[in-house]
């Protein structure tokens, strides 16, 4: 395996392509994002999206914020060759809601907010509270890893070039 820091820098683009693909899928084929139909799962764009384009040694960055913000400027930036580098997502599973930001280059989650859980009333509640929260964190992390897993399978397949790239190009040109 490659040295970790070399791999981090060399393949940063994979995470940004993942987030760009994710936006495309949410916008166009949201029902095909999760492959297991037995659970009621959906994901939506939240209140923030960061799009960047590297030009020689400089970076052009657009941040779109707000719950009802229009994403047209973001699409325009994609048309110029930019990619999504950070996205705020709202994930829903069986009437529970998570919100978090994913960064493309690291796949780190930040500002992760879990569905409401009851207050901890005593020291004895600590173990239950910790296990409850671990269960809920795991749900969000599994959702992101499952989306990334789906993306990476596609990314190394011929379908990426033959089907996905033309479809994304069509979407951003529309």
């Amino acid at each position: 395996m490659l040295d970790i820091s070399v791999a981090y820098n060399r393949y940063k683009f994979i995470g940004n392509e993942f987030l760009t693909w994710l936006w495309f899928m949410i916008d166009n084929e949201p029902n095909r994002l999760f492959t297991t139909p037995d659970e009621n799962r959906e994901i939506q764009i939240g209140s923030r999206i960061v799009i960047e384009k590297g030009i020689e040694n400089t970076v052009e960055k657009i941040t779109i914020k707000g719950d009802d913000a229009g994403l047209e400027e973001g699409i325009m930036a994609l048309r110029k060759g930019a990619l999504v580098t950070e996205i705020h997502l709202v994930y829903k599973e069986n009437e529970l809601t998570w919100a978090f930001t994913v960064k493309g280059e690291s796949l780190n989650l930040s500002n992760l907010k879990l569905p409401e859980t009851g207050p901890m009333e005593s020291k004895e509640d600590l173990e239950a509270a910790v296990l409850d929260r671990i269960y809920l964190y795991e749900k969000a992390l599994i959702a992101v890893q499952s989306l990334f897993g789906r993306f990476i399978q596609l990314r190394v397949s011929n379908d990426w070039r033959q089907q996905v790239i033309p479809a994304i190009k069509k979407w951003i040109a529309a």
């Binding site: 995470g15 796949l107 930040s110 789906r150 190394v156 990426w160």
Partner: protein, 206 residues
């Protein structure tokens, strides 16, 4: 920000290697051996880090405190740092230089003397200023070789990686896009690994 906070940041890791011997006892030993000591009593050190417990982050005792929750090891990395403002250092260095000039009846100090004054001042200030603690939670699922660290800060992540190896003789591999494809839980089949290594950036614009 800890796992019980209302909003958290998480960095994911794959844990490489296996514990030789009984798992719980070995983890207990690693936590005890590298538990944080009291920096306030060790006056000359600027930064210190070590494990602490979720229950008592400022007064941990792994013989008393719980670190096993269900199948998970849950504990914390604490980093205590004495932060001394550069303006405070500048003020005290200037005062000390003036004092030494007056005592020696000289007009200036040499470069080496000024450097020595600064070192003395830093040592003196480090003794007076209390350390600021930062506590970051760790959730480790030994069976699944998965670890979550509740911070995205570079310095905290680097300290975790170093301390974890020292304490448990295991290596943490941070899960970012490339390593997620290898160890993230939805790994690519072997025949696709070469293709992953040969990927180059896609350009979506016309």
């Amino acid at each position: 920000m800890g796992l019980l906070s209302s909003s958290v940041s998480i960095t994911r890791y794959f844990v490489k290697g296996e514990i030789n011997g009984p798992t719980i006892e070995t983890v207990h030993g690693g936590l005890q051996k590298f538990a944080i000591s009291k920096l306030d009593n060790d006056e000359s050190v600027e930064t210190i880090s070590g494990w602490t417990s979720l229950e008592h982050p400022y007064n941990a005792d792994f013989d008393r405190d719980t670190y096993l929750f269900g199948n998970y090891f849950v504990f914390c990395l604490r980093m205590d740092k004495k932060s001394i403002s550069s303006r405070i250092v500048k003020k005290h260095v200037t005062l000390e230089i003036n004092k030494r000039l007056a005592e020696s009846k000289r007009e200036y100090l040499s470069k080496n003397e000024k450097k020595a004054v600064k070192e003395d001042v830093l040592l003196l200030l480090a003794k007076r200023i209390p350390a600021t603690p930062n506590v970051y939670d760790v959730v480790w699922d030994y069976e699944k070789r998965s670890l979550w660290f509740f911070s995205n800060l570079k310095a905290a992540n680097e300290e975790l990686e170093t301390l974890f190896t020292k304490a448990f003789n295991l290596h943490l591999i941070r899960l970012f896009p490339y390593t997620s494809a290898l160890y993230g839980g939805t790994e690519l089949p072997d025949e696709k690994m070469d293709q992953l290594g040969n990927l180059s950036a896609t350009f979506f614009m016309e």
